[in-house]
Subunit: 365 residues, 2 copies
Amino acid sequence: MKLCDIPTPALLVDRQAMERNIQLMAAFFRGRPCKLRPHFKAHKTPAIARRQLAAGSCTGITCATVSEAEVVATAGVSADILIANEVLGPGKAMRVAKLAAGGADIKVAVDSSTAASELAEAVRAAAVEIGVLVDVNVGLPRCGIAPGGPALELAGQVASTEGLRLRGVMGYEGHAVAITDREAREAAAGYSMEQLLATARMIREAGLSCDIVSAGGTGTYDITGRIEGITEIQAGSYVLMDTAYAKLDLPFERALSLLGTVLSRPGPTICVTDSGHKACTEDHGNPSVKGIEGAFVLLLSDEHATIMLPADSPIAPGDRIELWPSHIDPTINLHDALFVLDGDEVTDVWPIAARGYPEQRTLLS
Amino acid sequence: MKLCDIPTPALLVDRQAMERNIQLMAAFFRGRPCKLRPHFKAHKTPAIARRQLAAGSCTGITCATVSEAEVVATAGVSADILIANEVLGPGKAMRVAKLAAGGADIKVAVDSSTAASELAEAVRAAAVEIGVLVDVNVGLPRCGIAPGGPALELAGQVASTEGLRLRGVMGYEGHAVAITDREAREAAAGYSMEQLLATARMIREAGLSCDIVSAGGTGTYDITGRIEGITEIQAGSYVLMDTAYAKLDLPFERALSLLGTVLSRPGPTICVTDSGHKACTEDHGNPSVKGIEGAFVLLLSDEHATIMLPADSPIAPGDRIELWPSHIDPTINLHDALFVLDGDEVTDVWPIAARGYPEQRTLLS
């Protein structure tokens, strides 16, 4: 299959650019005490995760959901899995226990005694043990227990709960990873990590174990990853990149684009492609137009991108236009396949195996 | 299965509210010259489309993509299919021809001679004929040829092309459907339809056939649907509704919600659920919180909704919260299943068969 044969809209992976990103990240962590735990949520694609691990400098895989962990384990990508998210709700803890029973060294983030109890009940029923990281809120208005005392108390509960093994702490400085000014980003990440490391110290001083201190993302891998005491970085986007992260001073290349076909040319400075927001999310802003000087996306609707063109543009119906997504994680989640290109040659069509909520596909009437 | 057993995040359909919406819409069109052609893109779910057709007052189904049309035809939902969108790019025209060869009365929107040629070549190769509607731009900055002369010229080309049968015109007043003020909405839709109807008259006066004049959406069904000469309305969202359309003076009920589980309760006025923007798009704004007075969504991230709560809220980890999506079409497109509820009982789990780009699933390595 050639580039020109791909039905649109479709996501294209520039294999060589992706490989360079993978090698660059592995090289950064080589010889450091801190390792990489690549985040599977960014691409949900076993074929990519395998390449990330093969490059070395990795501890295992980070997942955001139980179903991602199931795909990682089933595909044999890695047995060392961190679900860097709270696990609650019908069936979820039991599914984690099943993964442990199947041989996975699974670790789950926990920020409440309710979550700890649900997990403990399930793993005891399955006669297994799982690891737990206390999820510490380090500034992002999302999950995580308050650092210091509250986190220590929860760590104590976890350590004394049969079936749960306290492995350490995690704290995601998600409010810092996208700050474009490097000094400001360093300051925000540094302040967050002080709180996380102080909490880890308190836990150790209380005689509890705390081997893992997990944090970081693509925007802070070389900031947080250099801080003494941080043991692993959960970066994901670096492997394919997007326009939001491209605004930062990062060494990674954009390796993912969205191919569309021009459906309409309703005016001299306007064209419409079949790559709307069902194919490309806009939560980090409109995508950018690749390779056409002066062109920009005016608006995305469900099935269409309305693109403004320079007045002399020869673009015609049937032509193809590539867009750079502004946020790869949710954009990849809209598709079932990644078309992998070496030049114009499609060398692979990789399944995005963990797209969406795979458990739904097992429950259909 | 009960409501409490559903793994989250998950989309819930209130079956009774949906049925009332279907009946209400069918009643509006009963006895009118204008009919309904429900838009499949809104839900991509054959089980819903079947119910829409069974209620009567329908001509057939509207689709936005070739793969939607394939699902509609394969599932035996309807043989009368309008692809209300331009069809261009590798394999697309051939797939339309294949649908026609399989017995579907398929009609495609066309706004350029390039698209007409691609279709004609494919249908002639398959020795079939398909219908064509000239897609007229009536104000929305998207597809469609200019009304009047340019549309007439294209109609003439289509009529004289072997394999293509000119059936009429379509013009989507998408810029008007969401105007909350009814008078302003009527004015915008009215102006658009004047242009569409004037074009239809020109085509007929030139001795060409123009039986179908297709337009409209949920926001204009009872405006455009009352204008003499409009033969069918392409409404989709009415069947399940969303908060964007709920701002209008429409008689339809919200019948779709997103169930989430509370993962974290990091502060007295804040909770975090597992229903982020991978489960609920925000292109029409944040979703709303169902049934908790004063609560609102502060932000969606990939896997989380951060929700602000009243200070005295008893919400705890493990509790469930439903959100009302702001835009059903792309939100449903994120899921594989609709959980259909009669009260607390899950009566069906319907496959969202045309979710995403089904052709990708046939091309995987």
